[in-house]
């Protein structure tokens, strides 16, 4: 075993090391290339779109009918549908996710906590197309039993199902934030005579608020980008409405709708999905930046 490497062997070994490091670096750098490519492709095709449609029209027109004989290019109806489904989702995921997080972090025993995490994880592994099926054929008929005149396609059921979908994200990230609050704070509150519930709401939650808010921001950005559920259950006509009982299209649903048809490459309809995609990316990006800022700005250092 005491054989030594010859000079040539050592040179080869050094070369192999360098090659290996170079290849690994390229792997890591590839993620940056992906980002650059996403931005370049979206901006490039959108630029062609905005050469036809002024940005002011895009942002203020109240009709979105790019595929009609009389095309109108106002993103507002799609934006409105996206906001509405996200709002409904948040009304579901917010209270439920937060309650679950407080329960798991402050009340649940270790075995309960350990066994719920995998279940939440399983839930996030369910394909979205299955959730869409569930929204259209289970949730909507169920809602129709007590919401009068609810059409077969509506934002409400899509939003509710998206809300259920994002509960795992909101709950698990919020729980992490609350578990990071040191026990000394809890002990102090309990020693003063507060119950565990009062401690949870008045001491732990305020201390973890930046992490909880970040969890919500990430949940929102998930809901904004969700595609299949709305494409299946919410109908696909752009509709400028604030009533979640109506059918409406979201940005993502529009992209799917166009992609399903056979649009010629390079036409304005083709370019419009990139403009819509760019809007979507900017929305989710701003929520993520907001979450990042919240965590950095309001982080309590323990």
């Amino acid at each position: 075993m005491a054989s030594r490497l010859t000079a040539t062997q050592r040179r080869w070994q050094r070369r192999r090391e360098r090659i290996m490091e170079g290849v690994l670096f390229l792997c890591a750098a590839s993620s940056v290339f992906v980002t650059i490519a996403i931005v370049v492709v979206l901006v490039w095709e959108s630029a062609a779109f905005f050469a036809h449609v002024p940005i002011a029209t895009f942002l203020t027109d109240t009709m979105w009918t790019p595929l009609f004989a009389d095309p109108r290019y106002g993103i507002l109806p799609l934006l409105c549908g996206t906001m509405l489904s996200t709002a409904v989702a948040l009304c579901v995921a917010g209270p439920l996710g937060l309650t679950a997080a407080i329960y798991l972090s402050e009340f649940a025993s270790a075995p309960v906590r350990e066994s719920t995490k995998p279940v939440l994880e399983l839930l996030s592994g369910v394909p979205t197309v299955v959730y869409g099926f569930f929204a259209l054929l289970v949730v909507t008929p169920f809602l129709q039993t007590f919401v009068p005149n609810l059409p077969g396609f509506n934002i409400l059921s899509a939003g509710i199902v998206i809300g259920i979908m994002i509960i795992p994200y909101v709950a698990s990230l919020s729980e992490d934030a609350m578990r990071a609050v040191p026990n000394a704070l809890r002990d102090g509150s309990l020693a003063l005579g507060a119950t565990r519930l009062e401690t949870a709401f008045k001491v732990v939650l305020p201390s973890a608020i930046s992490g909880v808010a970040a969890a919500f921001a990430l949940g929102i950005s998930r809901a904004v980008g969700e595609t299949m559920v709305v494409a299946i259950a919410a109908g696909q006509q752009p509709n400028l409405t604030f009533d979640p009982r109506e059918p409406a299209a979201t940005i993502t649903a529009y992209i799917v709708q166009v992609a399903l048809g056979d649009l010629p490459h390079g036409g304005i309809g083709y370019q419009s999905i990139f403009a819509a995609g760019l809007t979507l990316l900017l929305m989710t990006l701003s929520f993520n930046v907001f979450a990042f800022w919240l965590r950095a700005r309001f982080r309590e250092a323990y």
């Binding site: 992906v34 996403i38 329960y103 009340f107 119950t195 595609t227 990139f274 990316l281």
Partner: protein, 313 residues
């Protein structure tokens, strides 16, 4: 607590009734908390039950071996599940090495500098990009830019990029949990950095890495939106070219560039049609898809659980 104290002056001791009321409020919250935690599980069971009730009658051998058809009762998912399998194969071949390589670089090699920071922030951001945006990237760049067409290769590549952040994050976590002493011991007896990484760190981190790759692949298996965006067809009544041919060189990669459909797209297509018959088909296809993804996820969870038990550094 404070309300009571303010009403009756700070010195007043809270009465027994009030203590009981506060206790009761706590018990009620615990019930609510348990309920909201379990609602996910309930929904999962409802989903599964619904798919079984609607679809199990359609689930037979013919359903798995038939092509889609205009007549709901004769339609099957042969082209869909073959397509899904091939796309996932391409995704695994591209996404796993790329993601694991990136994870290894970031944990073992990268210096703390601005470039590493950029890569790290970038990976976090990519994880939050909506999946449909990857579809737009693929449509603009691969389909029309590189001319790879609406093929299995394009789809696999797109999904590989999509799961890249998942694989990278999981790889980094797995590598981080390998204790420093192992690296030091190997370095001390003369191993090079590359040998340490290849022969010691990576094998020790392998179960964790595999978990990440499996979770990524199960995500890819269920993805619909990006593949619709690149223009995957919804009605495919043929199989891709066979990978093994009778002539030299006996292997063919022609299937990489064939048109395809996948299970979630087939299910979506059937849901979009009116009529109970096609909805039953959609339920059956959804059931197959759900079983596949849940199986993959369960494997990942069990793998991680056993790993945690075995790991005693």
């Amino acid at each position: 607590m404070t309300d009571v104290a303010h009403q009756h002056g700070p010195r007043r001791i809270v009465s027994e009734v009030q203590v009981l009321r506060r206790r009761r409020r706590e018990r009620i919250f615990v019930i609510f908390g348990l309920a909201s935690t379990l609602i996910g599980l309930l929904v999962l069971l409802a989903l599964l039950g619904n798919l079984v009730i609607d679809g199990v009658a359609r689930l037979d051998w013919n359903f798995l071996t038939n092509f889609p058809s205009r007549r709901a009762a004769q339609a099957g998912i042969l082209s869909a599940w073959v397509g899904s399998l091939l796309v996932i194969l391409v995704t695994a071949c591209i996404g796993a090495p790329l993601g694991v390589g990136a994870g290894i670089y970031l944990e073992e090699y990268s210096a703390r500098n601005w470039l590493t920071n950029i890569i790290e922030v970038n990976v976090a951001n990519l994880a939050a990009v909506p999946s449909i945006v990857y579809g737009l990237l693929a449509l603009g760049l691969f389909v029309y830019g590189f001319g790879t067409g609406r093929s299995i290769f394009t789809a696999g590549l797109t999904l590989a990029l999509l799961i890249l952040p998942i694989v990278i994050v999981a790889t980094r976590e797995a590598i981080r949990s390998v204790p420093q002493t192992i690296r030091e011991a190997a370095l001390a007896i003369g191993a090079t950095k590359g040998q340490v990484t290849k022969d010691h760190v990576l094998p020790a981190a392998l179960p964790g890495v595999l978990t990440g790759v499996i979770i990524g692949l199960s995500r890819a298996l269920g993805e619909t939106a990006p593949l619709i965006t690149i223009g995957a067809l919804t009605f495919i009544a043929f199989l891709p070219a066979p990978p093994i041919t009778s002539e030299f060189p006996f292997v063919s990669f022609e299937w990489l560039f064939d048109g395809f459909t996948v299970l979630p797209i087939q299910a979506f297509n059937w849901i979009s049609r009116p009529g109970r018959d096609f909805h039953a088909n959609a339920a059956a296809a959804g059931l197959v898809l759900l079983i596949m993804t849940l199986a993959l996820n369960s494997i990942a969870i069990v793998l991680r659980y056993r790993l945690r038990k075995r790991l005693q550094w």
